[in-house]
Amino acid sequence: MKKITLYVALAALLAFSLSLTVGAAEKGTINVWAFIAEEHAGPMIQEAARTFTPKTGLKVKYTALGYTAPFNKILLAAASGDVPDMVFAQPHWPMELYSRGAVVDLKREFGAEYDKLVSTFFPGSLTAYDYVGARFALPHNMWTPVTFYTKDTVDQMGWQIPNTWDDVRALIPKIKGQKMEFIYRPGFVTSATIEFNAAAVFMPFLFQHGGDFFTQDGLKSALDTEEAIAAFREFTELFTKHKVPLEADMNAMLKRGEMPIMVNNDTNTQWMRAVLASAGRGGVLKMAHLPGTMRGGKLDRAGDLYSWSQFIMKGAKNKKETWEYVKWYYSKDANSAILKGWAKLIPGLTWKLAVREVAEEFLRSNFPDEAQVLLDQVSASRYIRPVLGGFSMPRFLTNAFNEVTLKGADPEEALRRAVGEINKEMAKKQKEFTRFVY
């Protein structure tokens, strides 16, 4: 008897659930999907309610999906037509959507207003969303590598903070002599994420030599130029010739004091300080510029600039309203307020949003020591340009890197092999697009 009542109850529940419907998109409401932790959507929600909605009468509805939600979600939404108006996500997503016609080309759509908006941004921040003149996304929070050092150790040893990579190479034997190590971007060898792999950490070398990943027209890989090969050689020799460890655990080494100087993403500042604090040396962590390369008489400190992206979906129902939202979002006051909200949530994180003034003001007031370094680095850095078949580049570059460092292959040969593969994949994608997509 009990079982039957259970079944009946279940059937009733299921029947009821069938009647649940989705709330339709109301006119005048902007739907934003943010692939971030739910908590982090808080400042945006609050600020929108405070200044955007009263001013324009438009409501904004945020849906937080978590940082690790799969790309499929947006893909299926685009395929079925149930798209949000605006999406806040990882940098490599919008290109895939844009090249298949699912994302709005902001420059074409909003012309002069777009130009006015991005004039307030850091120049390098837009490279990731610039495809043959089309601009399809806007940058957000950015990360860039810097040099970290523990002041007490460095002062004690009387070392100079390296200005160029030559300085680094001269310093390494001295560091090793003290049973310590110079670490370069730990974790990238075994990183399983797209944003932190051999291609990403190769950028400082590539850009500083004047090279680039792809040709101007975005049709072929430019990694077989002299500059690129020289850069790759320098990069791999750090590990093969100068024996910089390929893998290091920051926790242990920081605590043991084995990591006096290192190059790392600035987002790690907060927890590196925490680790050091647990070993009683909280205040010793200092930041310096990324080592540069002399080129044409100037010191080039370019690095990689990874940033989250915001883009408008083509199927959005409220495009004009969404653009108002975008303009508001990147306006100095709103941007600043949201940034402050985030800083309160995650104190100690060196946030850098795209709008120059906002970033400057925030950094100078919260991180006075590091502000100049970070601003310089962000101004000098940029990211990988989007191209068709761009997924292949990090993949084969990582293969080449592994071949050189793990199997002792020759850097130039390995890189040329990689370029061959990359060009093959890019050609395949271009053919596919001319045949099926366009």
């Binding site: 259970l6 079944y7 279940l10 529940l13 299921l14 659930s17 069938l18 649940l20 419907t21 989705v22 709330g23 932790a37 739910e38 908590e39 982090h40 808080g42 849906t63 937080a64 999906l65 978590g66 940082y67 690790t68 939600a69 799969p70 499929n72 979600k73 299926l76 395929a79 079925s80 149930d82 929070n141 655990d249 926790n251 242990a252 987002t267 907060q270 927890w271 925490a274 680790v275 647990s278 949530l345 995650i346 100690g348 994180l349």
Partner: protein, 285 residues
């Protein structure tokens, strides 16, 4: 209360016993790590090499988790309700329809039986990555997206239930069924009186893993659900994780721990019927 060390201990059974103990310890180590991490303060979580036991246990991760979850748009109770409905519904409905179908496939002969069985089992072999999109389209077509159906169908339509029931019902001696038939029982009565009582071990096994799979399911909710109110716990716990900083590592660990607790409880509750010898195996004459 059984004695821990049986009276007639032989060398071989002693070796076996010790190896089992060693194997068990190795087996639970990673879970021990996960459980203890939930109780570690942040400084201990960041320690490397990772420690299996917590030195200064604290509940701060749980309070932090509670704080983070308290700020969700939809109340947490709704998410818990959703998970319970999905997992409970999966277990009950699956067991019900799987036993019916399994009985028919095991004990009854009818045209197309082998073909139908083959079709059912072959459903396991098609990679879910590829069927994800067709399923999405099917659900959309029938306006089932964003409903409990979208969360239940992936599990109710699974082949494991039927497959398992068929394999468990098959060894039941045909004589029992014949006897009931001779006694004049109807089809349904034969099913209910002969087959059903023998299904307990199978049902308990099914309950354990069907509950587990549907409870831990992250993909179906994230893909098939649009409104926040229909998400289940795995999605919510994942949303706690702040990838850009180490801030919520502890809360995430606490969340992962808590979400495993019901699965463990279900296992412990149903394990009885799976591990202990039944008084009546039903296979006697």
């Amino acid at each position: 209360m059984k004695r821990l060390i049986p009276r007639d201990l032989t060398p071989s059974s002693a070796i076996i016993f010790v190896s089992l103990i060693v194997g068990s310890v190795l087996s639970i180590l990673p879970i021990l790590y996960m459980a203890s991490t939930a109780f570690k303060p942040l400084s201990e979580i960041l320690v490397y090499p990772p420690r299996f036991f917590v030195r200064q246990p604290t509940l701060v991760n749980f309070t932090e988790l509670n704080y983070v979850l308290g700020k969700t748009i939809t109340p947490l109770s709704r998410y818990i309700f959703n998970s319970v409905v999905v997992s409970g519904g999966t277990v009950f409905v699956s067991i019900f329809i799987a036993t019916l179908a399994g009985y028919s496939l095991a004990k009854r002969n009818f045209p197309g039986k082998n073909l139908i069985f083959l079709i059912i089992v072959s459903g396991l072999m098609f990679s879910p990555h590829v069927t994800l999109i067709p399923r999405y389209m099917i659900l959309k077509r029938f306006a089932l997206l964003d409903s409990y159906w979208a969360l239940l169908l992936p599990w109710i339509s699974g082949s494991y239930g039927v497959f398992l029931m068929k394999q468990f019902i098959e060894p039941v001696p045909d004589e029992l069924l014949e006897a009931a038939k001779i006694d004049g029982a109807s089809q349904w009565q034969i099913f209910r009186r002969v087959i059903v009582p023998l299904c307990k071990p199978a049902w308990c096994t099914l309950s354990i893993f069907l509950f587990m799979w549907s409870w831990n399911d992250y993909l179906s909710p994230i893909i098939f659900v649009k409104s926040d109110a229909m998400y289940t716990l795995p999605v919510i716990i994942d949303r706690v994780n702040s990838v850009v900083s180490v801030d919520r590592l502890g809360a995430s660990a606490a969340g992962s721990f808590l979400i495993t607790v019901p699965v463990v409880i279900i296992f412990l509750v149903f394990q009885k019927y799976v591990v202990e010898t039944m008084a009546h195996s039903g296979l006697k004459g």
